[in-house]
Amino acid sequence: MTHPVLEAQLDAYLDGELTADDARELEAHLVQCPDCAGFRDERIALRAAIAAHVPALQASDALRQRVRAALRVAGGTRSRRRIAAPVVWRSLALAASLAVVAVGSWRLALQRAAGGALTDQVLASHVRSLMPGHLTDVVSSDQHTVKPWFNGKLDFSPPVYDFSGRGFPLVGGRLDYLNGRPVAALVYGRRQHLINVFLWPAVQGPAGGPPAATRQGYHLLHWTTREYAYWVVSDLGISELRDFAALLARGDSAAATPAR
């Protein structure tokens, strides 16, 4: 058999890849040509031998499991990568606040020496709370979860409100230590900003600090009701922070009178 073109055609014929016209033509040739007919038989034998002796293989169960596991990991990586932008953004923000901590605490030390100690403490607490894992001891947007959490941890039961209807959702609460005593810290959110509310039972005497202050880009508001000393700290704009403080004061005066 020395007709390479015919040879390839015959293979294509046996593979069922020839057009009907070409196939008919080839069949007519095979009838008259013993060489080509013999060649065809040989090829058929080769096919049969391959089919019989060269098996298609099966992937082992171990391989299947391995591949599936790898896909799960890779698929998970991909989904994490999809939301990577905000994560990176958040860690940048975190790095920024850590830088503030570094610079801030140094300045705080200077200012403490000059006075306004409580204001500085409040600010330091706020900044510290922004460090990873320090923000909340109890995470809940439900005031009925946060308020009871303080039971047994403080000698008072702080009023807790959720202002999510007003755009200041409750994030959670934690214990803190200010002015020589344990205090309640409530955390509220406003878009990407966080607000710390520190409060503890009011004591008679001079006010603990100025009603408003701005330190290192943070705004601090302070007031005292008949029952509580309040401090509110955030990097939120001062007018929005005042709105929030007003909400808090109204909620307190409306709810706190009958029962603490």
Partner: protein
């Protein structure tokens, strides 16, 4: 990737794992390498799955097998030289080696080992078309998609590959 996207990928591609493993096995001629190639190929396929627009069935199989083939290619370059087969040369390997007498009693018992040996000894370009056609049952068009050559080249390579197999088997039988 959404988890249902991963599930869609798995539903379409995992049924082809036997085909993927078979091709990888005959390309690498090594079980261990074949498994590594299959895993790597599936990961690549997942990565490029966005670019796959076909439905289930033959098209997805060709798509995956093309990735398996390319992965095995890269693997060979990265991990070991393909020492068994000579470099492929379309012209060189196209030559008719000898005029041989037709023989229908060519293959009998013990053909299994010699046939597999003969396939392993083929240049990769011949081996892959034989595996894709004879073991995986792909059409010439599908093979053309997997290998990335025109259908006419698939046709001639297949024919040459078969001739070489027959020659190899014949010479082995004569040695016996």
């Amino acid at each position: 990737m959404e988890s249902n996207e991963l599930e869609r990928f798995e539903a379409i591609m995992l049924p082809h794992m036997d085909a993927a493993y078979t091709l990888a096995h005959y390309l690498t001629r090594n079980d261990h390498d074949a498994e590594d190639v299959v895993q790597e190929a599936y990961l690549r396929a997942l990565k490029y799955f966005d670019g796959f627009r076909g439905a289930a069935g033959g098209e997805s199989r060709s798509w995956l097998l093309a990735i398996v083939r390319n992965t095995a290619h890269t693997w060979r370059h990265q991990h070991r030289a393909d020492t068994l087969a000579t470099e492929f040369d379309e012209e060189l390997h196209s030559e008719t080696v000898a005029h041989v007498h037709p023989e229908t009693t060519l293959l009998r018992e013990a053909a299994r080992a010699s046939l597999r040996h003969a396939i392993d000894g083929l240049p990769r370009e011949f081996r892959e078309v034989i595996v894709l056609r004879e073991l995986e049952g792909l059409s010439y068009k599908e093979i053309s998609d997997v290998v990335g050559v025109p259908v006419g080249t698939v046709m001639s390579r297949l024919s040459r590959a078969r001739r070489r197999l027959q020659e190899a088997l014949r010479s082995e039988q004569q040695e016996r």
